[in-house]
């Protein structure tokens, strides 16, 4: 009997709670009219950023495509005249992307970054396949400073052997001097 009373009480409480909700203001944000300002770290549309010198950061190292759990990133790396490695083509299939952000985490040059912009809907699914020109943006994204080729130690137009940050002059292999 006691448990019956308790059950009835519990039921009544439940009904009362939902009933009270009737008079609360809905928490829904009406999306297309109201655009919520998303945090900068929201994971949505992916971009390729430039380094502070205004050159492409992506060196097409394939780490993002390796780490991508849905295999939506593909690319081909190539070498520029000045010795920079770059992506001759770079493709992200946003129809497949799950915006997990692993590519951003894997990127050693801060090139690939996720932005809060998420309205990438298209009627034709092929238009969700973004090429490099669609992905490139003209800024540094979240990482303003990093410039991979300044520290990498590979010869590019920026610096030759021994001219990068924290490098000694090249060893003269033909001298006997210590």
């Amino acid at each position: 009997m006691k448990s019956l009373v308790e059950a009835a009480k519990a039921l009544a409480e439940g009904f009362a709670t939902t009933f009270n909700h009737l008079f609360r203001r809905p928490v829904t944000e009406e999306y297309p009219e109201v655009h919520r300002v998303l945090p900068a770290r929201t994971r949505a549309r992916i971009v390729l950023t430039l380094d502070p010198d205004g050159e492409e950061r992506c060196v097409a190292c394939y780490l993002c495509s390796a780490v991508c759990p849905v295999s939506c990133i593909s690319m081909q790396s190539a070498e520029k005249e000045d010795g920079r490695r770059y992506a001759s083509w770079f493709r992200i299939n946003f129809a497949r992307c799950i915006y997990c952000g692993l590519c951003e985490e894997a990127c050693p040059t801060s090139a690939i970054q996720l932005t809060p912009y998420f309205e990438t809907c298209e009627r034709d699914i092929l238009r969700l396949v973004y090429e490099k020109e669609d992905l490139l943006v003209q800024h540094q994204g979240k990482d303003k400073e990093y410039n991979f080729y300044k520290v990498a130690g590979v010869v590019t137009r920026l610096a030759g052997k021994g001219e990068h940050a924290r490098e000694e002059k090249p060893v003269n292999v033909k001298t006997n001097l210590p």
């Binding site: 439940g14 009904f15 939902t18 909700h21 009737l22 203001r25 809905p26 829904t28 009406e30």
Partner: protein, 328 residues
């Protein structure tokens, strides 16, 4: 003969109005349910199709009519097509015995505001309600899908179990009204609605009715997070729509039955009788939606325990007690 045709035309008009209203109400019940449920959950609910989403039912109808109707491989085509029609038609037929007002005088002849005043009205309701089980069970079986099959079996077992409690809970009402005719039962409530004298029967009937209409917390046949969509997993387009329509008409009919059997039917002050009935139906239905917004789904064994171990014995005892009290 002229009178006969005039009567026929009048009858058809009356029936069409009633059926139209029934369907319109069913369609808007969907809107009401979504809206009400949304507010229970601090949301807005549909608000895109028309003002306050009022055109939502129309949009849904158009969508269902134009969607592709797929039949899965290996399905029993005949039964697959028949099942939704069975569900929808039985639900709509059930409304035939519900009176929605006193007799009306037209051309000097009395036109009763009920479609058919069968003297076995309640049994007719039970019979159709049992027939409706076929729709669910066959739909589940014919789909050639495991989810559908499970949903169908569950639905059948649940509906026949609660059918018993439903039937037994109404015995006291019949005893009080001394008739199976629903019209007579309404008449019998001239002095007081039966809910006052039969609260236990009301509770049993309410619970059973919700279980009969497969609504949360008794929606095990379609439990979406375990059975995808249960017996109608494989249905699309208008066939799915008919299942849907059936469910909402069923809800409405059960609401009407509650109103008629326990709440005095169309009786009420100031307003015309059909409006009173309408208000009562809506109140019952809103209560059902409120329940949906409040209670979680039962487990299947809990469902069966509730039906067999609580409601049936309670209903039986209620009969005995009522009999004794009435005789006394």
């Amino acid at each position: 003969m002229i009178m006969w045709f005039a009567g026929l035309i009048l009858l058809i008009v009356k029936l069409a109005v009633v059926l139209g209203f029934l369907l319109f109400l069913a369609a808007y019940l969907v809107w009401v349910e979504r809206k009400f449920l949304a507010r229970l959950q601090i949301r807005y609910g549909p608000n895109r199709a028309g003002r306050y989403g009022l055109l939502q039912p129309i949009a849904d109808t158009v969508k269902m009519l134009t969607k592709e109707d797929t039949i899965p491989d290996g399905a029993d085509k005949g039964l697959f097509c028949l099942a939704p029609a069975v569900v929808a038609m039985t639900a709509m037929l059930m409304f035939a015995v519900v009176p929605f007002g006193p007799e009306l005088s037209v051309f000097g002849r009395k036109v009763p505001l009920v479609i058919t005043d069968l003297n076995i009205g309640l049994l007719f309701v039970f019979a159709l309600s049992s027939l409706g089980v076929y729709g669910v069970a066959l739909g589940g079986w014919a789909s050639n899908s495991k989810y559908s099959l499970l949903g169908g079996i569950r639905g059948a077992a649940q509906m026949i179990s609660y059918e018993l409690a439903l039937g037994l809970s109404l015995v006291p009402i019949v005893m009080l009204a001394r008739s199976f005719s629903v019209v007579d039962i309404v008449q019998a409530q001239e002095r007081y609605p039966f809910i006052l004298v039969q609260p236990v029967a009301f509770v049993i009937f309410m619970i059973s009715a919700m279980a009969e209409s497969k609504r949360i917390p008794f929606d095990l046949p379609e439990a979406e997070n375990e059975l995808v969509a249960g017996f109608h997993t494989e249905y699309s387009g208008i066939r799915f729509g008919l299942f849907f329509l059936g469910e909402y008409v069923h809800m409405q009919v059960l609401g009407a039955l509650v109103a008629v059997l326990f709440l005095g039917g169309w009786r009420g002050p100031f307003l015309p009788p059909p409006v009173w009935l309408f208000i009562k139906i809506i109140l019952v239905v809103l209560f059902m939606i409120w329940t949906r917004g409040t209670l979680p789904r039962l487990r299947y064994d809990q469902l069966m325990t509730l039906g067999w171990k609580m409601l049936i014995p309670l209903a039986l005892l209620n009969i005995v007690v009522t009999g004794a009290v009435v005789l006394f």
